[in-house]
Amino acid sequence: MIKILVNRTQPSKAEIAKRQDFNYILSALPKKNLLYSPWFYGAMGFSSLAGLFYFIAAYS
């Protein structure tokens, strides 16, 4: 059953402002996964190619 509150006391503007915490909002954001970063794929791709060329050069 839905509750009905008549003439409920509302917190003041100052009270609400006091509860603002933007740092908490930033800390609650999900951390970026390195696996989805283009930097990760760039670095992995580059090192794989470098390794491949090294083996080709070393054994040919």
Partner: protein
């Protein structure tokens, strides 16, 4: 719009938008939940979700504030489903008077009690419309933006909700 574009690049730049809209979002949530602490928690979740989804936000006629209210609405219903908060209607005497006036009935203690008894009997979507229009004095345009309806549709649905409320009131009023 500049603030939004900057915030899309870096979440830390969302701070001015958070400061600007925190009060309005909190009050929207507070009126619909029974506990103040739950309202603060839900408000925080709204802004976390807003920052996460900000890259998807594009201005297509819907103001940024209405976009935030949409997130607040969905977060509220998620909290009700998770039983983290209880659906509540916060109403004051002036707002009760406004609805009575719409019904063209004289206000007295007995009639007020009947109205308060029948309000929760409305379907939730109808209740949302009554809350927004008569308790929060929102325009049909804004209501449409928040509820993802056209302005005209919001008007028609509010009118139907009012008729339903009137019928429920008549059913429960022994002194017709």
């Amino acid at each position: 719009m500049i603030l939004i574009e900057r915030a899309k690049q870096n979440p830390a730049h969302f701070a001015p938008l958070y400061k600007k809209y925190h009060d309005a979002i909190f009050r929207y949530v507070f009126k619909r939940v029974d506990e103040e602490e739950a309202a603060y928690d839900i408000t925080s979740c709204v802004f976390v979700k807003a920052i996460i989804n900000l890259p998807k936000y594009e201005y297509r006629g819907v103001p940024f504030s209405s976009w935030l209210f949409r997130i607040a609405k969905s977060e509220l219903y998620q909290s009700f489903r998770d039983k983290k908060a209880k659906r509540t209607i916060s109403i004051d005497s002036v707002q009760i008077g406004r609805v009575m006036e719409e019904f063209s009935i004289d206000e007295n203690e007995h009639k007020r009690e009947i109205l308060l008894k029948v309000l929760p009997l409305l379907k939730d979507k109808q209740l949302q419309l009554i809350e927004m229009r008569f308790f929060e004095k929102r325009s049909f345009r804004e209501m449409g933006e928040i509820l993802e309806l056209t302005e005209n549709n919001a008007k028609v649905k509010t009118f139907r909700a009012l008729i339903k409320l009137k019928a429920l009131y008549a059913q429960h009023n022994p002194l017709k």
